[in-house]
Symmetry: C2
Subunit: 421 residues, 2 copies
Amino acid sequence: MQKDDMILISVDDHIVEPPDLFEQHIPAKWKGREPRLVTREAEGTQGWEWEGGASTSTFINAVVTLPKEEWGFDPSSLAEIRPGCYDVRQRVRDMDANGVLASMCFPSFPGMAGNFFAQVEDKALGLACLRAYNDWHIDEWAASHPGRFIPLPVPPLWDPALAAEEVRRTARKGATAIAFTEDAESLGYPSIHSGAWDPFFEACVDEDVTVAIHIASGAVGLPGGEDTPWDVKMCMPTWNALPCALNLMWCKSLLDHPDLKIALSEGGTSWIPGFLDRLERHYGNQKWTGADLGGLTPTELWKRHFLACFICDPSGLLLRDRIGIDNIAYEVDYPHSDCTFPYSSDELWEHMEAAGCTDEEIDKITFENAAKWLRFDPFEHTKREDATVGALKASAADVDMRTRSKVEYKRAFEAQQAAAG
Amino acid sequence: MQKDDMILISVDDHIVEPPDLFEQHIPAKWKGREPRLVTREAEGTQGWEWEGGASTSTFINAVVTLPKEEWGFDPSSLAEIRPGCYDVRQRVRDMDANGVLASMCFPSFPGMAGNFFAQVEDKALGLACLRAYNDWHIDEWAASHPGRFIPLPVPPLWDPALAAEEVRRTARKGATAIAFTEDAESLGYPSIHSGAWDPFFEACVDEDVTVAIHIASGAVGLPGGEDTPWDVKMCMPTWNALPCALNLMWCKSLLDHPDLKIALSEGGTSWIPGFLDRLERHYGNQKWTGADLGGLTPTELWKRHFLACFICDPSGLLLRDRIGIDNIAYEVDYPHSDCTFPYSSDELWEHMEAAGCTDEEIDKITFENAAKWLRFDPFEHTKREDATVGALKASAADVDMRTRSKVEYKRAFEAQQAAAG
């Protein structure tokens, strides 16, 4: 296999939501009460606001192709970021240019598990807006380019029964995954050990829907105190997947749902071999806790339930056999600062070569595992020979991937707005 | 090299404090006000108490050689545990039987960094008791068997200047290490980023004293909510070393003290390769945070400052070159449930063989790194040929290493008390 022969499915990218997202999807009854993208003239920033308050982050680190000296945690407006962040046609062109066949996209302003919609007193309004969001995501964003997106709705976290209902509703619309939080208790909901989430998990199993848990989807988005450096705040969340997985591994609900599939989105892979070493030793030793994994070893339980997802993890690739070669998938993380756009295939290939991955292993990591875990047929809409890194890149030679400043982006944005009238 | 040729220094074991520890060391002025080991007849348990309150855990999981079905987090009394936990003569015999030449011992009732002594209103009393504790630890426990212990005093955490003074005082008594907390802020003290700890770090550098940070030395001893299983509570703290190291890596105080040495006690090693991958990528990318590692890469900074300490970490050994072969040391963790007594050398050898370690690498991991980082000459009091696993074990053929029940231990304890009394 050559680098250009790879087929890439990215199981974790991000949408920056366009201002008109609710337009076609909010029922008449609620019109006017949905969240709006507001420009705060004084600060020169934009944010989503509604009667439930304001979003904490609108553009979460969406700095792709900005010069590094202009990066920051939250760019200030839609005009200053790459159009591929919010415009699906541009997004697909960027995927082509980066050699990526298909992408699963997490939200921005609603938070990684959609908890923004819970932050309104009138929960019927919250649910209406959440459903409108999911409908937009599935029917507009994902449906605009068949075969290029794996839809990812968000659940109404404030009510496990409603969350179960939304799993079933969106599954009927073709969704094969649903977002969830890494720490329900931190958001004020019942803990994962309470059994309260069983209806939600049951719906996921019934509908064969994978639970996608992104890092920083609990209450502690970024950790630390007042004087904690940004470097700590930004590096730490990677390992949020570890306590999340640890709790799930010892969770009765998991044993009760042997077909439940969980993607640890942006959780990385390199901590997993040591994690499994530790759990194997603990489970063999600590009989007094009464833990029962239903006849499985921790490693067997892990392999049955978890998909580990990484952007860049050379050490994890070296120990892929200890993680499970059927349990690893790839992510680009477009448009965040950790994303590898536009050199994703180069970096991934370099690390897989260094780790001595076979062709079979490469295919599993780059697309087969993602396709299997997310019930996505990569070749339904795209012929295999057109789906490769090489073919996609060749089709997008005109895409401008240069670094451009915020000012340049803003100028182009304003020109386009003016032209549109 | 053969298994029996290894020389083992364990950089993390634990003392369960004997009731008479303060007797010879508390100044007359404070006599009667020191903590006491109290038997609560109603509950049938023992705990340390004083005007500062009661210790949260007296025997922290000291279950070595108890049958697994009798394990639990905190055994109830001194009578029910292995005498090697609290009796230094028995401890050294157990070290012999386990093939361990030397040991650095963390406290039990005072907490991993001695913060128990802060929990009294009269801070002069706290300081007197803390100093008495350290004097007992250095002059009685460690000095009883020259060449077998690396003393580990604890600092008065409530005052960085006093902590610095205690570093200097105990260094004059021969200490080459001092305990410290993984999260000062969680205990109500200034954060590691505040600069407040600089006098403490400066004293450590001046005296060439290594800072030993044990997991679960912050306020959150065991994590989780009410319904969190014990399995989660017990497995999670291993990775406390990660946020601790992450904060230190981006801490100005570390850069200001290029000779500061930090041991991440019981922090394991397997997360480190991925940790360094992540930091390398972040540091190369996120120029906007203004982080400055003084011309070093994160990996170079890591190797300059950190000693990673593991009990059982087969995945970490596989990637030892990415951690730094000069930055890894071994621990037994006697007498906790994670300890490998009495088969430490067997397990360690098996994992080092599986990882293909060379003789040179084995020597570094088993004793040379510990000796260097803690300024301990293993052969000052013991000839090299008498210091090996094989020689020590041969000298202790009479030590009874069988599993024994609490009732058996209690019977022997009471018989001994009766004979003595």
